[in-house]
């Protein structure tokens, strides 16, 4: 067993009266790809966002590569640089070119030279297939292209782990695969990934483990094959029944 890179221990989180994360315990090994699935409102996004502290937690601990998530401030910014995050709505910096979107972090956070950062950025944009759009602005790109740029922007920071929160659910169907392909290749290269998605094809192809959440709890987890064909809990069966018939 590889050393766990991300460890969540007894994590609890409320939004007002709503208990969104209930005693979450989870370990993610180096190079492991974990797909998180579950009904709407079950806390998947909150879990993802808690891992890089876009949401605070009330109790429990989250450690990344042995380091506990610090409180707000410089130390937290530092740690976040090691955790890539890809959002459902891409969130590219709207006033910056594609190239500048990718180089901002390396230049400001990693203190790389502009030339060096741009060279690396172009390699990454090449890799996700949007190098020829480098001088354009986000609004000029299709959703699929924007999401691939967002992945390149995260990769430019050389993250230890990448979080994806429904990266394809805002996309038109014909653009989903171009993004999933990039993610599959990342997974194959050994990137540690936590992916909230309902794309079962991706889970089957790339995930080591599927974690099923419902009502703020991890209800069951298994290999993708086992989970999809032989779910144990009624809640998972019920959920799978719903998404499979659609």
């Amino acid at each position: 067993m590889t050393e766990p890179l991300v460890v969540l221990k007894d994590v609890n989180k409320h939004f007002g009266d709503l208990h969104v994360l209930k005693d979450i315990n989870m370990e993610i090994g180096k190079g492991e790809v974990v797909v998180v699935i579950g009904p709407s409102g079950s806390g998947k996004s909150t879990l993802c966002r808690a891992i890089n502290r876009l949401e605070t937690i009330e109790s429990g601990t989250i450690t990344i590569d042995g380091k506990t998530l610090p409180e707000e401030g410089k130390a937290l910014a530092h740690l976040r640089a090691d955790v890539g995050m890809v959002f459902q709505s891409f969130n590219l910096f709207a006033h910056k070119t594609i190239l500048d979107n990718v180089t901002l972090g390396p230049i400001k956070v990693r203190k790389q030279k502009k030339g060096e950062a741009e060279k690396r950025a172009m390699e990454l944009l090449e890799r996700v297939g949007v190098a020829h759009q480098a001088q354009k602005f986000p609004a000029q790109l299709s959703g699929g292209q924007q999401q691939r740029v967002a992945i390149a922007r995260s990769l430019a920071m050389d993250p230890k782990v990448m979080l994806f929160d429904e990266p394809t659910s805002a996309l038109d169907p014909e653009m989903i695969n171009e993004v999933l392909d990039v993610m599959v290749s990342l997974a194959k290269e050994g990137m540690t990934m936590v992916v909230v998605t309902h794309e079962m094809g991706f889970a089957r192809k790339a995930a080591n483990r599927v974690v099923f959440m419902d009502d703020g709890q991890i209800v069951e987890q298994n290999t993708p094959e086992e989970f999809f064909t032989n779910a144990q809990s009624d809640r998972a069966k019920d959920f799978l029944g719903k998404i499979l018939t659609h």
Binding site: N52, L54, E72, G73, K74, A77, H78, L79, R80, A81, D82, V83, G84, M85, F87, S89, N91, L92, F93, A94, H95, L104, G105, K108, V109, F137, P138, A139, Q140, A150, R153, S154, M157
Partner: protein, 221 residues
């Protein structure tokens, strides 16, 4: 019309208007930015001070602020901005009150600009490891500023026209001269025309400039 221009120093009066407007604008931009940062800060007391400022100065008529600066602050409290020269004291108070009053509007213009920036932008900035200051500087403020160019432009144009209110305390600017001309020559249409044209010359190009600037710099989403 010709004789007004030759008998009175209209240009000097408009120069007074321009100086008043420039000083007022610089002051309003500085005050407005400070108050906007107060209102946006996470500290309750700061927010409260900022809100108080905006509600107070946006709702007191400018004429009252002008009169108060001379009758209240200079005469009763003895606060002078130039104790040697009365007309310079008046002029400086006029500029200050223009700044104080319009600062409230600049603050709201900036805040509306901040509201054009989706929260996802700030989250993405934080997610790549930018500090609070860095995300402000490189991601949020540049977009907020672009989003508020049009309302800031409107505020500056309003400020230029509102500088005429300074005539109530006799600050040397266009409206002050206009009332002198009217007193001497009687109210003739040409008098109004001269001063109206003067203001249009000042504000019309500025309006066009701000419109094109906000269009050119608009953030496409």
């Amino acid at each position: 019309m010709q004789e007004i221009l030759s008998d009175y120093d209209v240009l000097a009066a408009f120069w007074g208007t321009i100086k008043l407007s420039i000083l007022g604008t610089i002051g309003a931009l500085i005050l407005g930015t400070i108050v906007a940062v107060l209102r946006l800060s996470p500290v309750r007391v700061f927010q409260w001070i900022g809100t108080w400022y905006v509600n107070t100065f946006r709702n007191i008529p400018l004429t009252l602020l002008m009169v108060f600066s001379i009758l209240g602050l200079t005469f009763i409290l003895g606060l002078q901005l130039n104790s040697e020269d009365i007309s310079s004291n008046v002029f400086r108070w006029a500029a200050t009150m223009l700044a104080v009053y319009h600062g409230a509007f600049i603050c709201e213009a900036l805040r509306s600009g901040v509201n054009t920036v989706p929260v996802g932008q700030a989250e993405a900035a934080r997610a790549i490891g930018l500090t609070f200051g860095q995300s402000m500087r490189h991601v949020l403020l540049p977009q907020a500023f672009r989003g508020s160019i049009a309302p800031i432009g409107s505020t500056i144009i309003a400020l230029i026209k509102n500088s005429t209110v300074a005539a109530v305390i006799g600050a040397g600017e266009a409206a002050n001269l206009m009332s002198v001309v009217i007193e001497n020559e009687g109210s003739r249409f040409s008098v109004f025309l001269v001063f109206a044209i003067g203001f249009v010359i000042l504000t019309l190009p500025l309006g066009l400039f701000f419109t094109s600037l906000s269009r050119r710099l608009a953030v496409k989403r």
